[in-house]
């Protein structure tokens, strides 16, 4: 029959569609290079990195622990609640079931922000506990939903009958009712486990204190090509596949045996539950956090909130080894994102914001003065980044990286003449339509627009800001740019586009990886920025934070940071060393200091609000122009 062939073909395509990405992931987890498109040879390096990356292993551990506890709690509570509700007054039952439907009927993001608002409004510190509570909250409704129909189909007199025959109510519940509704309970538990294991949106909004599950980990790491993500995914795939195969083979074997002797598992799903416990234990054992090291600060934790892709490969590990403390690092990709978390009371010990944001944090009394007697690094710092207007005596901040903003370009596609003639207006030259990257930063996008128009980037003039906004809207609607953050780094290394707005440090990295790339700073001026370490008011481990600042500023760590990431080090020796070795001849590595149009960003609350709103509208305009 023709139809069957069509069906088989369709099924085949479907399976291909489902498994192609998974196969792809597995294959590229063994790739010897970083590329996601070309397989260059077999290697286990990404697995090695994954096992050495304690944050990654911990995220796996968190995912499983949360899923297991949430499943157990929500199954028990949900079942009890469902039994109770079935005997409640109709009106009570209807109302509770309606409320119970909220997480199922509402978009997940609504549930997520609702829970986030709940925790923040009532001052609950966000972290593992809030994530667990949230998971339990959205899992119970699914359990109730799958248990309820089973209870409805029970004879309502069953419990009475049991009690008439001498059971206590408890016995009637456990020995009579629960066994009858077992299939519903088990499928409820399965749904709960899957929902919790897979959850991203709710976890993302309610977590804090550096607690991440696998989804959050992948989300924050996905900006740069990172095959370790493939490795950890492959691990999960392998364990799940093996256990599901076992689950499905057991019944077949049993069936065969059943033909010989009749009594076997009463419940088909028991092996599923058993195997889940097995998976959970297996992954837990693999992912169990390593014991912390010995040292002066053994057992203490340092919470750092830093930019993504901003630390050298070994800095954190070296710090942990030296002090014995454990470092939990959270990553942000904009100052604003960092500010919101900090302003809402999230306790970190170290932050690495930019100049204008430090000014804001000082104004709003969110950071504390450094204890200079505990610091030994001030003399190592380049005079050019010391005593800047936002913190004149470095009372609050010690520089981490510094640089400028400019244009990264493909020298084979873009002529230097165009750049010199047009400056930032090259982003509106239709010759490069569809061939440009903008950077998703409100501050630097407005810097670009204002400088292109010949204004100061610190202007408070509403008209000039409005003009800059129009400039950006025109740019995104006519030029079809991609608005990116760290993705620009790998993409420019691959020469995917001709032009991009970029931070000097990222440009230095791009140029060191691909010699066809150039970096240009328009004469109309740029943003001279610096990012610095500060200690928030609500820091829990101030002493260790000072220790960290010293450590990061020392030659070895500063060298590791700067050579790995590409940003200019404030440590003068490191900068001198690297500009003659790794980054020799790369103009992006040494910030310019002789252009009168260059400025340092100054914080102004009213202007920020205006820019912030404009920028989110620019992005909406970009999206609508698609």
């Amino acid at each position: 029959m023709k139809k069957r062939y069509f069906g088989k073909f369709l099924m085949f395509l479907m399976i291909l569609f489902f498994y192609l990405p998974i196969a792809f992931m597995v294959i590229f987890s063994f790739n010897s290079s970083k590329s996601l498109t070309h397989f260059t040879g077999f290697s286990l390096q990404w697995y090695e990195r994954m096992f050495n990356n304690s944050a990654m292993m911990e995220s796996l551990y968190t995912t499983i622990i949360v899923a297991v506890i949430a499943t157990i709690v929500s199954t028990v509570v949900g079942t009890i609640a469902a039994i109770g509700l079935s005997k409640s007054k109709k009106i009570v039952r209807e109302i509770v079931l309606q409320i119970n439907d909220f997480p199922i009927m509402n978009p997940e993001i609504v549930t997520a922000i609702g829970l986030m608002l709940l925790f923040i409004t009532f001052g609950v510190e966000r972290g593992f506990i809030t994530m667990l509570l949230a998971h339990i909250a959205f899992c119970i409704p699914y359990v109730i939903l799958s248990v309820m129909p089973k209870i409805r189909s029970l004879d309502p007199n069953l419990a009475d009958a049991a009690m008439d025959l001498g059971c206590t109510p408890w016995q009637a519940l456990v020995k009579v009712i629960v066994p009858q509704i077992m299939p519903g309970i088990i499928s409820g538990a399965l749904i709960a486990f899957t929902m919790s294991f897979d959850d991203f949106i709710i976890s993302y909004f309610v977590t804090g204190g550096g607690v991440k599950n696998l989804s959050i980990m992948v989300y924050t790491m996905s900006k740069r090509v990172n095959p370790s993500i493939n490795a950890i995914s492959t691990l999960v795939v392998a364990v799940i596949t093996v256990s599901l195969i076992i689950v499905n083979i057991i019944p077949i074997i049993k069936e065969k045996r059943q033909k010989q002797n009749k009594t076997m598992f009463k419940n088909k799903k028991t092996p599923i539950i058993l195997s889940f416990l097995a998976i959970a234990t297996a992954i837990t054992l693999i992912a169990w956090p390593k014991q912390s090291q010995v040292g002066k600060y053994q057992g203490q934790t340092l919470h750092v909130y830093n930019w993504g892709e901003y630390t050298g490969e070994n800095v954190i590990a070296a710090f942990e080894k030296e002090t014995g403390a454990k470092v939990i690092m959270d990553l942000f990709d904009s100052n604003e994102q960092m500010y919101i978390k900090v302003a809402n009371g999230e306790p970190y010990d170290i932050l690495v914001p930019s100049d204008y944001m430090i000014e804001r944090l000082i104004q709003e009394d969110l950071v504390q003065k450094l204890d200079k007697s505990q610091l030994n690094c001030l003399d190592l710092i380049n005079e050019d980044v010391k005593g800047l207007p936002y913190d004149k005596n470095n009372d609050y901040s010690i520089p981490y990286f510094w640089g400028t903003v400019g244009i990264v370009y493909d020298t084979t596609k873009v002529s230097e003449e165009d750049l010199e003639k047009e400056g930032y207006n090259i982003f509106r030259n239709e010759k490069y339509k569809g061939d440009i990257y903008l950077y998703d930063s409100e501050r630097d996008s407005f810097m670009m627009a204002l400088k292109a128009l010949g204004y100061s980037m610190n202007t408070k003039d509403q008209k000039e800001l409005e003009e800059a906004y129009q400039w950006l809207v025109d740019c995104v609607t006519t030029m079809k740019p991609e608005i990116v953050t760290d993705e620009i780094i790998d993409n420019m290394v691959q020469q995917r586009k001709a032009l991009g707005l970029i931070y000097s440090g990222d440009a230095a990295y791009v140029m060191s990886e691909n010699e066809n790339m150039g970096f240009y700073m328009p004469e109309t001026g740029t943003n001279l920025w610096s990012d610095a370490m500060v200690i928030p008011k609500n820091a829990k481990n101030v002493e260790l934070a000072h220790e960290f600042i010293n450590f990061v500023s020392s030659f070895d760590s500063a060298y590791d940071n700067s050579s790995y990431v590409g940003y200019t080090s404030p440590n003068i020796e490191v900068m001198d060393e690297l500009s003659t070795t790794d980054f020799e001849g790369i103009n992006a590595y040494t910030p310019r200091s002789n252009n009168k149009n260059d400025e340092v960003f100054v914080y102004d609350e009213d202007t920020r609000k205006v820019i912030s709103n404009y920028w989110s509208k620019v992005k909406i305009a970009a999206s609508n122009a698609q």
Partner: protein, 281 residues
Amino acid sequence: MKKFSQLAVPYIVWSAIMLLLPVLLIAFYSVTDSGNSIVNFKFTFAHFQKFFTDSSFLLILWRSILIAIKTTIICVLIGYPVAYFISRCQERVQNILVLVITLPMWINMLVRTYAWIGILSDGGIAQTILQFFGLGNSSLLYTEEAVLLGMVYNFIPFMILQINTSLSKMDKSLLEASADLGANHFLTFWKVVFPLSLPGVISGISLVFLPAVSSFFIPKLLGGGQFFLIGNVIENQFITVGEWNFGSAISMIMAVIMMLSMYAVRHVEARNSGKRKEKKA
């Protein structure tokens, strides 16, 4: 018996705090103007006004709904034949096929979406295949099509499983009866099988449409930073802009739209099944 009803009390308290209160808080934030605290607030409808008077917000809402509708239609068009095929297989094969479709769902959604980045990026396998067939050389990643693909990929299993459940529950003797009464395959499908599978299609639609409208990581990973849907606007308001009141207002608008459309879908379904029952009687 009364004792059993007391078992519900803890959950009633819990659901009031963990399920009802959050929604009330969003509603509260959406009509007040006090930043991120609930001390010293003032009631205002400015946030709703801001949303409804700005065409770019309305356009983005419309585009989110449109892309969710597209996703849903594709999921029905592809998912239905697949589910139908599965339901016509032998039981053992059926179980295996259902497992094959469920298996990827156990693997984290973000991880699976991330995997598409490599396939779709420039010089990747998808582009190579398209070039081989001479179908152009354009970028695949960071386009609307990539987002659509990601959504279909993530949500189609729900559709297939829902339709398959309703198809395989169907009494097979109905098909024989229909054939006995002279209907051909097509007529049997159209008059018997399809109407009976509608509840599955409808619950599939709600399982696909709902997450598709509000999704924000699929557009972000596969659409790039310049691809905004309403979910991204909400995320942006909470994570980067910090206008929680406005973000809450958008969430309320979205929640209301979703609630209404879900009730509409369920209402249509209820009316249909009502008619069927009447006919039977």
